[in-house]
């Protein structure tokens, strides 16, 4: 089972290593981790996708909360949230294959960001399923390289994950 957690942390050096260390030493599995600053530059937000049952997720939440640099841990439910990931894919593209690849990219609203004689590099943003479908369609052409940012997530509606100011 995969669970998405949104973790607000102090934007201090060393925080990422504390969190990564916590996962490895307690035997928790990270599926993906994305991190960046928030609207408040003192606070970073990590979106962590955790693999594990209810017990594991509960322990992950509690252990994360024990870290002094962790301000808030929230579970993000798939129904009430928007999740996105950005991938860059470099595919084999001999000149006669190009138009077909470009067509697929257009259907997925992906962008061609680099062209060379023998390759195309495509940028795609989407949720997990969209990215996966796109990847499958490009496989027959030969994927030379693939890089992804990891999932980020935000709640739908006015519901915000924020630090309560005192």
């Amino acid at each position: 089972m995969k669970t998405t957690l949104s973790v607000l942390v102090e934007n201090h050096p060393g925080v990422l290593s504390r969190i990564a260390g916590l996962f490895s030493r307690r035997g928790f599995n990270i599926d993906s981790l994305a991190v960046g600053t928030t609207e408040n530059p003192d606070i970073s937000r990590m979106t962590i996708v955790v693999e594990g049952d209810e017990y594991v997720v509960e322990q992950v939440k509690k252990q994360l909360n024990k870290l002094v640099d962790v301000i808030k841990v929230s579970k993000i439910s798939p129904e009430d949230s928007v999740t996105r990931e950005l991938v860059l894919i470099k595919v084999d593209a001999e000149p006669h294959m190009r138009s077909e690849i470009i067509q697929i990219a257009e259907i997925f609203r992906a962008n061609i960001v680099d062209v060379s004689r023998k390759s195309l590099t495509i940028e795609l943003t989407g949720d997990k399923d969209k990215v996966k479908a796109f990847e499958e369609l490009l496989k027959p052409f030969g994927i030379k390289e693939l890089v992804r940012t990891g999932i980020i997530a935000i709640n739908r509606g006015t519901n915000c994950i924020k630090v309560e100011e005192e």
Binding site: V9, E10, G14, S17, R18, G21, R25, Y55, E58, Q59, K62, Q63, N65, K66, L67, V68, D69, V70, I71, V163
Partner: protein, 553 residues
């Protein structure tokens, strides 16, 4: 006021009312020792950094204050590591200060450089690498606050040499703002009411007191609750002393080497009130057979402990002192029942005999307990002697059993005894040790003598590693490997070379007089007891067994 970072550190420690630092100087921490030169803070020079960390831990556990240890960068810092991890596993509040190489050369593998914040992250509650001297007062204030509040634990401050030499404007902060750290002190009122109702309805209730009761100074609240409803009490190893061992409601220690009546009681009770206990593996034995008939109320200040090892019916996150007091108010008074009689009958028939005709280690502990009325502060190392002490010394005061329970650190007891004696100069402090453990940190005898500490050492010498030998007997079909020492020094002569008087006994009838001599002797004293290596610790619960299935129980 313009002062250096090192002076700011020392001043900040003074603001935190630090009286004693246990430490060992070196290059990178030079500015701090220079700043300490004119401070009223007493510095105790140990003989290894590990000794300093354990001494700070022993000091913290007896005084109830934060213990402070200090070392230089590199090997100084890594020698602290075992002590810090020991404190972490037992939730002991210490602040460790390490020197670090200058910020300009961090990461270049210069002389005595080690990434100590990285190394200690897994077993510190929090740690700091100070980059700006202006941050020192805030960091010190936060470190003491974090170490001593919530679930206590060690905090490390790593101070690079150039930061220590930077001149700053000193101002000690009044407030702390840590948005990511807000320990939950007050137990949830509805959960407290539920817990009280569960106790009122229970026919066979049992309180299991852990180290948290000692840490939270909750022994009076515990006693009041137990007496009001006549609830029997067992303790974990770390909970030893939290409930007076001479009290009729006390059953004993539970666990792998718990006493038989206590382990059997757990199997029969219908309710366990776990107070500041974390259901450690060595305490509960086979997890899913622990207290099979019981509902469980779990009181702990650390939410992460709730449900970590054991299913819980009523969790209460909060300070155990506050929560026990609240529960006590809501619990109905109850007279003794058949349940109490049943436990008393279990307590009647538990005895242990010596395998050899020689010195019975249990008898030594029993006589020591009687002669000191259970009021000495006892530190231990790790091994047979530790288990015999926890089983048979009748501790009547909280925070008087000082032992490494979680990490199981051999070499803990002697330096911890130094810290304990520094905290309480007028109480007898006795380090009970084995010859294996004693040889891990015996250099600290020098620290004890230098500081005129009248420490007593009772050394159980079996010429090897008794508890490991016992494990090999049961788990390795008696293939004894590396558990017998080929050479053992003359400990009485060794002690004499440190200026510590000592004597050696071998026969049962010598025990009483020898203990009298140890107790009456004004200065430090070492009593070496020749113990047969085949003396095992019983009862013993084999791994994978429920705790009521004991060998020798």
């Amino acid at each position: 006021m313009k002062i250096t970072g090192a002076e700011a550190l020392v001043k900040s420690l003074e603001y935190e009312n630090v009286e004693i630092i246990f430490g060992y100087p070196g290059g990178a921490i030079l500015p701090v020792y220079d700043a300490l030169y004119n401070s009223k803070i007493k510095h105790i020079l140990t003989r290894s950094e590990q000794g300093a960390a354990h001494a700070a831990s022993g000091y913290a556990r007896v005084s109830g204050k934060v213990g402070v240890c200090m070392a230089t960068s590199g090997p100084g810092a890594t020698n602290l590591v075992t002590g810090i991890a020991t404190a972490y596993m037992d939730s002991i509040p210490i602040v460790a200060i390490t020197g670090q190489v200058s910020t300009s050369v961090i990461g270049r593998d210069v002389f005595q450089e080690v990434d100590i914040t990285g190394a200690t992250a897994p077993f510190t509650k929090h740690n700091y690498l100070v980059k700006n001297a202006e941050d020192i007062p805030r960091i010190v204030k936060e470190a003491f606050y974090i170490a001593s509040t919530g679930r206590p634990g060690p905090v490390l401050i790593d101070l690079p040499r150039d930061v220590a030499e930077t001149v700053i404007d000193f101002k000690y902060p009044e407030k702390i703002t840590l948005r990511g750290y807000k320990p939950n002190i007050i137990g949830h009122p509805l959960q407290i009411i539920r817990a009280a109702e569960m106790i009122n309805q229970s026919q066979r209730p049992l309180i299991c007191a852990g180290g948290g009761v000692n840490l939270a100074k909750a022994e009076e609240e515990l006693l009041k609750l137990a007496e009001k409803a006549n609830i029997p009490v067992v303790t974990t190893l770390m909970g030893t002393g939290a409930f007076p061992a001479d009290h009729p409601l006390y059953v004993g220690m539970i666990g792998m080497h718990g006493v038989s009546p206590a382990n059997k009681t757990v199997a029969e009770c219908d309710l366990i009130v776990a107070a500041g206990a974390r259901f450690a593996d060595r305490t509960v034995g086979k997890m899913d057979s622990f207290a099979p008939k019981a509902k469980i109320i779990h009181i702990d200040i650390d939410p992460a402990e709730i449900g970590k090892n054991i299913r819980v019916d009523t969790p209460i996150v909060g300070d155990v002192k506050q929560v026990l007091a609240e529960i006590e108010k809501k619990v109905a008074p109850k007279a003794k029942t058949e349940w109490n009689d049943f436990i008393d009958s279990l307590k009647q028939n538990s005895a242990s005999n010596s395998v050899s005709g020689g010195l019975n280690p249990v008898e030594i502990i029993r006589q020591l307990s009687e002669k000191t009325s259970g009021k000495a502060i006892i530190t231990t190392e790790v091994g047979c002697h530790q288990m015999w002490t926890a089983q048979h010394y009748k501790f009547v005061k909280a925070r008087s059993f000082i032992s490494s329970g979680g990490l199981g650190t051999m070499g803990y007891g002697l330096p911890a005894a130094i810290g304990a004696q520094m905290a309480k100069r007028d109480t007898m402090v006795i380090n009970i040790c084995g010859d294996g453990s004693f040889q891990m940190n015996l250099q600290e005898m020098a620290t004890a003598v230098e500081n005129n500490l009248p420490l007593k050492i009772i050394l159980f010498n079996n010429g090897g590693l008794g508890l490991v030998r016992q494990l090999q007997e049961f788990y390795c079909e008696k293939r004894y490997n590396q558990v017998y020492f080929g050479f053992v020094p003359d400990f009485v002569k060794l002690a004499a070379s440190y200026g510590i008087q000592g004597m050696r006994i071998q026969r049962q009838e010598e025990i009483s007089a020898a203990l009298d001599r140890l107790i009456e002797h004004k200065g430090p004293f070492l009593l070496e007891c020749a113990i047969d290596i085949n003396e095992n610790v019983y009862p013993m619960v084999l791994s994978g067994s429920p705790i009521n299935e004991m060998i020798g129980g």
